[in-house]
Symmetry: C2
Subunit: 173 residues, 2 copies
DNA sequence: TATTGTTATACTCTATAACTATA
DNA sequence: TATAGTTATAGAGTATAACAATA
């Protein structure tokens, strides 16, 4: 079912360009994107599986780890954190309660709007976050086993990819 | 507390004694791997954030989607699914209860060991899984916006990377 | 005795809806 | 009236421990 070698896709594309068949070339490129995405997705699935374990190294749930990561910049309202986590604002109350209970986060009143509470990391929170980020920056074995040339290509291509990711809907807040 | 990074230091030092250039080259390659990993990790975080939305398109929780994906091959015991999901076996009972309640999965008794229950997808389950897998195969905008040359490089490098991922601890079951 | 799956319990994450205090 | 955050409630995911049936 899937044994077809796809290096021949290159030839198809070249032929399509020459004969001006844009539609065929487009399909070939879509197929190419799928082929590139497939192994990437496998790695992502593996990382999704491992992330709870990584967070647990710091006695954090996956969501707590994600939240800590997002709170590393300037103080932000609860609602902003809810946006980052793609969850309802009501959940952030309990989440922040627990982080605050552990002394990692503080609620501060915003002076421009007394409804708003700004979330800041405590010193302890900053320290945990620093170690967490350092740990997350460690590449998995699958990546670090690549050659220097492969790593350079991967880095350059992925940097271009995530540039495009930041562009369309992305307000960094 | 004082001997914390001793083993690592010893390795670096030993290499440095052999050849200072080799140690420096090693650090450079580690740094390169980190640089390649960083944008990859950003994409992974974004996909982790989006996965619940994708699963919800099929009225599945993230874990249910993951389980359905894992049950696409031959019938397997509950314990195997627990392994795939990296969770305790006790959780699989409720998870399978819900999937079975929706008619997507069946429990079957294994004849070789009457303690074991084998999980199989129903026809409805196979259909949902097929559509789910098709949806997951769609590359995100950040990837499909890359050029053909970039896609080819990405595909080839990532294929080599996940080959190495399958090798070390990987029993596919 | 050891293992497979279940049940009981507790905690976290998540959504919806109703509420408060501001604006 | 609308918005930011809270509370109440319900369902799902997760771990631990105790248990039944089977090996």
């Amino acid at each position: 079912m899937k044994g077809m070698s796809r290096t021949q896709g290159d030839r198809v594309e070249a032929r399509a360009r020459k004969s001006g068949e844009a539609a065929e070339s487009l399909r070939a490129e879509e197929e190419l994107a799928r082929e590139a995405w497939a192994p990437l997705f496998e790695l992502i699935q593996e990382q999704m599986r491992q992330f709870p374990v990584l967070a647990a190294e710091f006695e954090l749930s996956p969501v707590q780890a994600h939240a800590l990561r997002m709170l590393g910049y300037e103080p932000q309202p609860m609602s902003a954190l809810a946006g980052h986590l793609s969850c309802d604002a009501s959940n952030v109350t309990g989440l922040v309660d627990r982080l605050e209970g552990r002394g990692l986060v503080e609620r501060r009143n915003a002076e421009h709007d007394r409804r708003v509470k700004l979330l800041c990391l405590t010193e302890a929170g900053q320290e945990v976050r620093r170690r967490l980020m350092e740990r997350m920056a460690e590449p998995p074995a699958a990546i670090s086993a690549l050659s220097s040339a492969e790593l350079r290509m991967l880095r350059d291509v992925m940097r271009r990819a995530v540039e495009k990711l930041g562009a369309p809907g992305g307000k960094p807040d």
